[in-house]
């Protein structure tokens, strides 16, 4: 995963994706997500200065943040062509009890949360290593959506929908050949 030197050599080029940490979210997680996007999708990725927590997206009654509203913020201001928000707090949608991540299909913005990624089986907590691996998977999955990819049914493919962390653990750190080919095509369109 990207060392300091090759990260900085890339930043010389204008970034294609900005990873936007919200509030006090783990900066290691932000770096790991960025490095994986860079390695697997071959995009220039920059982790920017944290944004304040999006207070207006808080759904007070549920104690969660509305992922749809955060996407609007991320898409609204100037910056890199694509943006991935990284939250420490739990995300939801008006019709879903929670989401691990959410994105604008073929749009500009995606957002993900680390909140549930440390959940282990039977209520315990997992290792930090596994949490980071899951975060990388969610980041890749959401950014691939932003690039225009829909869900895939191939076993183990990163584009397979997983409702929770257990589902993520069944995915490989990679895309199936069909999704891979589609991604290459979509990235050419992006460039």
């Amino acid at each position: 995963m990207g060392s300091e030197s090759d990260m900085s050599s890339r930043v010389m080029l204008p970034p294609q994706v900005e990873v936007v940490p919200f509030g006090l979210v783990s900066s290691t997680a932000a770096q790991v997500v960025a490095a994986n996007l860079q390695a697997l999708l071959e995009l220039n990725v920059l982790v920017v200065q944290p944004w304040p927590e999006p207070a207006h997206a808080l759904v007070a009654a549920r104690g969660q943040y509305d992922a749809g509203l955060i996407l609007k913020d991320l898409a609204a201001t100037e910056g890199a062509p694509l943006r991935l928000g990284l939250m420490g707090k739990d995300l939801c949608l008006p019709f879903l009890t929670y989401v691990l991540g959410e994105s604008q299909l073929g749009g500009r913005a995606a957002v993900m949360s680390l909140h549930r990624l440390s959940d282990g089986e039977g209520g315990g907590r997992t290792t930090r290593h596994l949490m980071l691996e899951r975060a990388a998977k969610v980041g890749l999955h959401e950014i691939a959506h932003v690039l225009g990819l829909e869900h895939c049914r191939a076993a183990g493919c990163l584009m397979k929908f997983s409702a929770g962390p257990a589902g993520l653990d069944r995915l490989r750190m990679g895309f199936c050949p069909v999704c891979q080919r589609e991604l290459t095509r979509l990235k050419i369109e992006l460039a």
Binding site: P94, F95, L96, Y98, Q104, H151, R153, G164
Partner: protein, 449 residues
């Protein structure tokens, strides 16, 4: 992702409608949106949908009303009602009005996913059934594989056959005697990837425990008196194909344990020893008995039941699918006429009426036997009521038990006569084991001439 569906999202709340729609598009579905019942019905006129997600609370036409109208005008569209927490009664109303399911808002993502998968499966089954019905209507097919019948009940069975044929899982076929369980088993085999392998059938009810054991497992030379040569058992013969255990409810607990071991270990020994053998077969079992009841009574092993009952498929009795009676009768008339070389006779009206109102305790097998006889005894080109052996006394469905017993006795007498009192043959045709037949003969006081 589940099977891609064409989904119509109906919700008056913009944010809700848009976010559900966006999520479904990401999941690979084709999505339409409507903000009310009227608009939804309009869209359904223009485009085809598989599924409608309908919010129950909308101004004007509410969700339940829309559901009713959709079920009238587009009965094939599955409807899921979305309701808020705390209004379970309305969810119940929705189910009564024909909703396929309901979702409590906000829903759990895992649950939504499973529900979409379920709807996808349901849709596929509906499509298969529609195709089958179409083929039936066009006369391209009088049924499915060797099974005659176009009743909704049988179409459902055909759909299930197709579904299980695509898997390797054990299947349990349940149904009264003579309903066609063996034909269903053959159809599953023929439609499966094992169709090039053997279909090996064995009737477990018709033999003693030791005979069944050596039939199934085979035996080595000298394993018991009379075993002069080593013999392959049915388990070995079914290698690469399908093993069909008919009347599985009749096998002893000891044999259940033995078979369970084979299913768990994949290997077995012939009676009398030798090397362990393996065989790769798909298991299909059939029974006319109520196995859960046998389990409760301690006569059938639960662990064995779980093994054989991964998929279960019920073949309905003939009296529950009366639409099939005449097509079946005509099918058998054609079959037996072919054998006699004469042109097939037709059923006159009274004969038809009688066939349709009879209770059919022996199901299709009984119908087949009646038709076989009728083809022989009729005069001219018509089969008349008088030639339908069992209907002479005109029993109606739900006739008194005594009547049924009389019919059974008469039926047994005829079958015995037709087969020169060969008990084995008669028992096989009647679908009961020899001991049962012997008991019935004794009880009815029948005597060979």
């Amino acid at each position: 992702m589940s099977t891609p569906l064409r989904v119509l999202v109906v919700d008056d709340e913009l944010a809700m409608r848009e976010s559900i729609a966006a999520w479904l598009v990401q999941d690979g579905h084709q999505v339409g949106k409507a903000e009310g019942g009227r608009e939804a019905l309009g869209l359904m006129e223009q485009r085809e949908f598989d599924l409608a997600l309908v919010d129950i609370k909308m101004p004007g036409m509410d969700g339940i009303e829309l559901l009713r109208r959709v079920k009238e005008s587009h009965p094939d569209v599955l409807v899921i009602i979305i309701t808020a927490y705390g209004s379970i009664e309305s969810a119940v109303d929705a189910m009564k009005a024909g909703a396929s399911d309901y979702l409590l808002k906000p829903f759990d993502p895992e649950h939504l996913m499973l529900l979409l998968e379920k709807m996808g499966r349901q849709k596929r089954l509906m499509q298969e059934n529609k195709m089958l019905r179409q083929r039936l209507a066009e006369g391209q097919m009088a049924g499915f594989e060797d099974l005659v019948g176009g009743s909704p009940a049988m179409l459902k069975v055909f759909g299930q056959i197709e579904e299980v044929a695509a898997t390797e899982a054990p299947v349990l076929i349940v149904g009264e005697t003579g309903t066609g369980k063996e034909l269903v088993a053959r159809a599953i085999h023929n439609r499966s990837s094992r169709s090039f392998g053997p279909f090996v059938a064995i009737n477990c009810g018709a033999q003693s425990e030791s005979l069944l054991e050596s039939e199934l497992f085979g035996h080595e030379r000298g394993a018991f008196t009379g075993a002069v040569k080593a013999r392959r058992g049915h388990l070995e013969m079914a290698d690469g194909g399908t093993l069909f255990l008919d009347e599985v409810g009749d096998i002893s607990q000891k044999m259940q344990v033995a078979l369970l071991r084979v299913l768990e270990n994949g290997s077995f020994l012939r009676v009398g020893g030798g090397d362990p053998l393996t065989s790769d077969f798909r298991l299909i079992c059939a029974t006319h008995r109520d196995l859960p009841e046998l389990i409760a009574a301690g006569d059938f092993r639960q662990d064995f039941y779980y093994r054989i009952n991964v998929f279960s498929l019920t073949v309905p009795p003939l009296r529950q699918r009366r639409e099939d009676i005449i097509p079946l009768a005509e099918h058998f008339i054609a079959v037996f006429s072919r054998e006699t070389g004469k042109p097939p006779p037709e059923l006159d009206d009274k004969a038809r009426q009688a066939l349709l109102s009879y209770a059919w305790p022996g199901n299709v097998r009984e119908l087949r036997n009646i038709m076989e006889r009728a083809v022989i005894v009729r005069r001219g080109g018509l089969i008349k009521l008088e030639q339908l052996a069992f209907l002479e006394e005109g029993p109606k469905s739900g006739s008194a038990p005594l009547r049924l017993a009389e019919i059974e006795t008469e039926h047994i007498r005829r079958i015995l006569q037709a087969h020169q009192w060969n008990i084995t043959q008669a028992a096989a045709i009647l679908g009961i084991d020899r001991t049962t037949l012997a008991r019935k003969i004794k009880k009815a006081g029948l005597r060979s001439p």
